[in-house]
């Protein structure tokens, strides 16, 4: 695929490109948003609260956990702490995105930060490590993504009243498929291979050791260390 990359491209052109590159993410958001809406209604949340959660929390895993805990009548403080633990990975993602938006003014970094999700993180890291960061394009993907997430949740609220078994539509595989689609092309060297394998294997090990939501943070740290070690080691080898 050829990438148009002239700096004279218009504002509208960036909006259109931004929407186009987000299309696969929107597909995933639609699938997951509907799934969330259905589950939330079936767990007993009101339609308004279900949509409000997609608007304010805007993080699939934390929302699914939140709905289940709310349904069980778990105290609000515990639910908020669970959200903190599950979403701690955003600290890592946002740190990795920080260099991309370093030249934005603070208020734009603030608006950009509000919209960080697993999907937009993966999309932006994948895209803007190959191409220069385009501000309008990036904000377009964020805004369109958020709107579709909320709209799909609303659709799920409507569907939730009628459909019960949603797994058979493959909606739950959208997110992992998207992560695979973004991760695989990012692996371009032996160091990347080592980092990716260490990340995956150590996630399983930390899980076996009893970590649940912290396992992602622990596995990420281990994989980063493995990457640094591998770099040091290859530098010492005469090539």
């Amino acid at each position: 695929m050829t990438e148009p990359n002239d700096s004279h491209k218009s504002w509208l052109g960036d909006v259109i490109t931004g929407t186009a590159v987000t299309a696969p993410v929107l597909m995933v958001y639609t699938a997951m948003g509907i799934a969330f809406g259905v589950l939330s209604i079936q767990a007993g949340l009101s339609p308004l609260n279900t949509v409000a959660m997609s608007f304010f929390v805007y993080a699939g895993t934390a929302q699914l956990a939140g709905v289940q805990l709310l349904a069980l009548g778990v105290p609000p403080l515990s639910i908020v702490i669970t959200t903190l633990v599950i979403n701690s990975r955003f600290l890592v993602m946002s740190s990795a995105l920080a260099p991309l938006v370093a030249k934005f003014p603070a208020w734009q970094r603030f608006l950009y930060g509000l919209e960080v999700t697993d999907a937009t993180f993966a999309l932006h890291i994948g895209r803007y490590s190959r191409l220069p960061m385009r501000k309008v394009e990036a904000f377009t993907t964020n805004i369109v993504g958020h709107i579709v997430w909320v709209a799909a949740t609303a659709a799920g609220v409507v569907i939730g009243a009628t459909v019960t078994n949603i797994d058979r539509f493959g909606l739950d595989f959208g997110m992992p498929a998207m992560f695979i689609a973004i991760l695989v092309p990012m692996i371009r060297s032996r160091v990347h291979v080592v980092v990716a394998i260490t990340g995956g294997v150590s996630l399983l090990l930390f899980r076996l050791l009893g970590l649940s939501y912290w396992a992602i943070m622990a596995a990420t740290a281990t994989a980063v260390l493995a990457g640094i070690a591998m770099e040091q080691w290859t530098r010492r080898q005469p090539s």
Partner: protein, 108 residues
């Protein structure tokens, strides 16, 4: 729990969620970071993506599931090949989701 308390809980969840997303992009740029953080940031994307992918595939209901009952895990292998060949976000997701639907249909 009544819906008003639920709504307030959702607002608090939102505040926590936004804070975690915001803090690094707002606070990190413009700061002189220690060299080890700079080096770590370079490996961070692949590291966190691979950990999350394995979590999404191998962890079902908070338990590791590596058996044949976990169809999504096995569907991931052709999906990885599809991603390597097409390098397309759209085709990889479409292929993966279609494959999972087909496998569930065939094995249920």
């Amino acid at each position: 729990m009544d819906q008003t308390t639920t709504f307030l809980t959702i607002l608090a969840m939102g505040a926590v969620s936004m804070g975690l997303k915001l803090a690094p992009v707002v606070l990190l740029p413009g700061r002189k970071l220690p060299r080890w953080i700079d080096i770590s940031l370079r490996h961070l994307p692949v590291a966190v993506l691979s950990a999350m992918t394995v979590q999404l595939l191998a962890v079902v209901d908070n338990e590791i599931k590596l058996d044949f009952g976990n169809l999504a895990l096995w569907a991931a292998i052709p999906t990885v090949i599809c991603a390597a060949l097409t390098r397309s976000l759209f085709w990889t997701i479409a292929f993966g989701m279609a494959l999972v639907v087909a496998l569930r249909w065939a094995f249920s």
